[in-house]
Chain length 205, copies 3
C-alpha cells in the first residue's frame, strides 16, 4: 500500500513542480529536471545524510522516467490541470505525509536515534520543495507559508510513536495518515501559519 | 587522450565561470571558489550520487590548484579573454561533451543501468553550471537557454550505444565527440531552443 | 577545550543565522531550519566530501536541539541580541576559526593530502554561511565581503604547519586561534578586503 501511495505522491509532486517551472517559462527539459529534483530531492538528501546507498532512483531508474512522463503530461494538459485545485492539494498533502513516513521507515531500519528518525522524515518531505524554490530563485515557501514542515514533523512523531508502542506497521501508517492529511488540508483551508519572526534592524552579521 | 581533454575542459570551465563571477563584482577569492565549484561541481554531484569515493579532486587535489590558477589568469587577462568568443565557445562545448563522456564512463565501470549511465553523464556535464547560476543568484540558464542539457543527453546516448555495440572505446569516444560538438556549436549558431512551457495562471501550489 | 569552543561556536552561528532569517520575515520553523543549516552545513558538506560517516549530527542529534534552542532564544531576545554587536562579532570570528580547525583535524585523521586538509577546514568554516545566503536568496557574502574565507585558509595553514612541525596539538590550536581571531577582527575593524574582479562587458557564455 505504501509503495502504491509512494508512486502517486511522486507523480503529484512532479506535476506540481512542472507547473511551477512553467510559471518561470522554462523549456521542456528544464521542466522535466525541476520535476525530478522536486520529487526525488528529499529522498536523495536523506539517503546522502544517512549514507544509505545505492540511492533509490539509482536502484530503480524508472522512477526518473515516471517523473519526466508526469512533467510532460502536465505540459500537455496544463489548462486542465490547473483547474483541479482541490484534487491537487489533496495529492500534494498525501505526498508530504507519505514521503515523511517513508523517510522515517528508512531511518528506523538502521536504528537511528528518534530525533534522526523525525529529521529523516522531514528532510524527505520538504527538501525537494526547497530545492525547487532555490532553482526558481525564490526564498523557499516552506520558510514562510502555512504549516508544511510542521505537518511533516507531527506526522513523523505520530508514526514513530505508533511503531514504538508496538502497533502493527500498517496501523501506525493509517494513524499517521489520519493525523497528517487533515492537518495539512485544514491549515490550507484556514490559512493557519506559524508565528513569524520579523526583525528589521540593520545589524552587522 | 580523454585525460588531456579533461584538463582542457576543466580549465575552460573555470575560466568562463571566472568571467561570470567578474560580472557580479566578486573578490578574487570568490572568483576562485566559483571557478572550482563550476568546474568540479558536476563530477562531485555524480560521485556523491553513485557513492564513488574518494571524490576525484580529493584523490588528486592539484585539480583545485589548476582551477584557481585558471581563475586568476582570467582575472589578469580578462580584457583579452572576452574577445576570444569563438575559441571559448568551442572549449565550452568540448567541456560539456568531455564531462558527459567521463560521467558515462564512471557509471559504466560499476555496471549501472543504462538510464543511470546517461543521467551520470548529464549530471557531470550540467550540474556545475547550475551551481554557478544558483550562487550568482540567477535562474539557471540550462533551464531556459539553447540546447545544452540535450547535447549532453545525446552525447551520452551515442557513447553508451557505441560501447554497447562493441566498438573500441576510443572509436565510441570519437563518434560521441563528432556528434556532440557540432550539435552544440550549431545550436548556438542558429539559436536552436527546446520548446518552452509558458504557464502564467496563478495557481496555489 | 576544542569541544567546548565547538558548542559555543555552533550556538553563535545559529543565533546570527536566526537574525538573518528574521530580516526575511521567516516563520519560527524557518528560523530554526536556517539556524541548523548555517551552523551544521559546513561540517555536513565536509563529511559528505570526505565520505566521513555517520555525519556528526546524526551521531549526536542533540546538536540539532541545541541549534533550535539557540534560534528560539534569539527570537525571544532579538531586541537585546542585536545590540551586542562586539561580543557577537567575536563569537562569530571564534566560530569561523574553531570550525576551520575541526575540519582540518578530521581531514588529518584520515591522512589526506595537505591541500585537502586546508580545503576541509575552509569548507567547514564557510559553507554554512553560503547555504544561508542561498536560501535567503542573496549572492553569498563570502564572495564579496571582508576577509572571511581568507581567515579560514590562513588559520588552516597555520594549524596544519603547527601539527606538521611536531608541536603538541593544543599548542598548534592556540597558535592558530592566536593568528585567526585577530586577523578576522582586524579585517572587520579596518574593512580589509580582497581585491575585486569587476568585469562588466557583456560576453556570451
Amino acid at each position: 500500500m505504501l509503495t502504491m501511495m509512494f508512486y502517486v505522491a511522486i507523480t503529484a509532486d512532479a506535476m506540481s513542480a512542472a507547473l511551477a517551472a512553467g510559471r518561470r517559462n522554462m523549456d521542456w527539459f528544464g521542466v522535466c529536471l525541476i520535476a525530478c529534483i522536486t520529487a526525488l530531492g528529499g529522498g536523495t538528501a536523506r539517503d546522502v545524510f544517512l549514507d544509505h546507498y545505492p540511492l533509490y532512483w539509482v536502484h530503480n531508474p524508472y522512477i526518473l522516467v515516471l517523473c519526466c512522463c508526469a512533467a510532460l503530461l502536465t505540459i500537455a494538459t496544463a489548462r486542465v490541470v490547473h483547474r483541479l485545485r482541490w484534487p491537487f492539494l489533496l495529492l500534494d498533502a498525501l505526498g508530504l505525509v507519505v514521503f515523511t513516513i517513508i523517510g522515517c521507515n528508512i531511518a528506523m531500519e538502521t536504528m537511528e536515534h528518534p530525533i534522526i528518525v523525525i529529521v529523516a522524515g522531514m528532510v524527505t518531505g520538504i527538501v525537494g520543495g526547497i530545492m525547487r524554490d532555490v532553482l526558481c530563485n525564490d526564498v523557499p515557501l516552506v520558510f514562510r507559508g502555512e504549516l508544511y514542515a510542521t505537518v511533516s514533523i507531527v506526522t513523523g512523531v505520530v508514526y514513530f510513536l505508533g511503531n514504538k508502542a508496538g502497533l502493527p506497521s500498517d496501523l501506525a501508517l493509517l494513524i499517521a495518515l489520519g493525523v497528517g492529511l487533515p492537518l495539512r488540508v485544514l491549515s490550507i483551508m484556514f490559512k493557519w501559519e506559524m508565528p513569524k519572526f520579523v526583525f528589521d534592524r540593520e545589524m552587522r552579521k
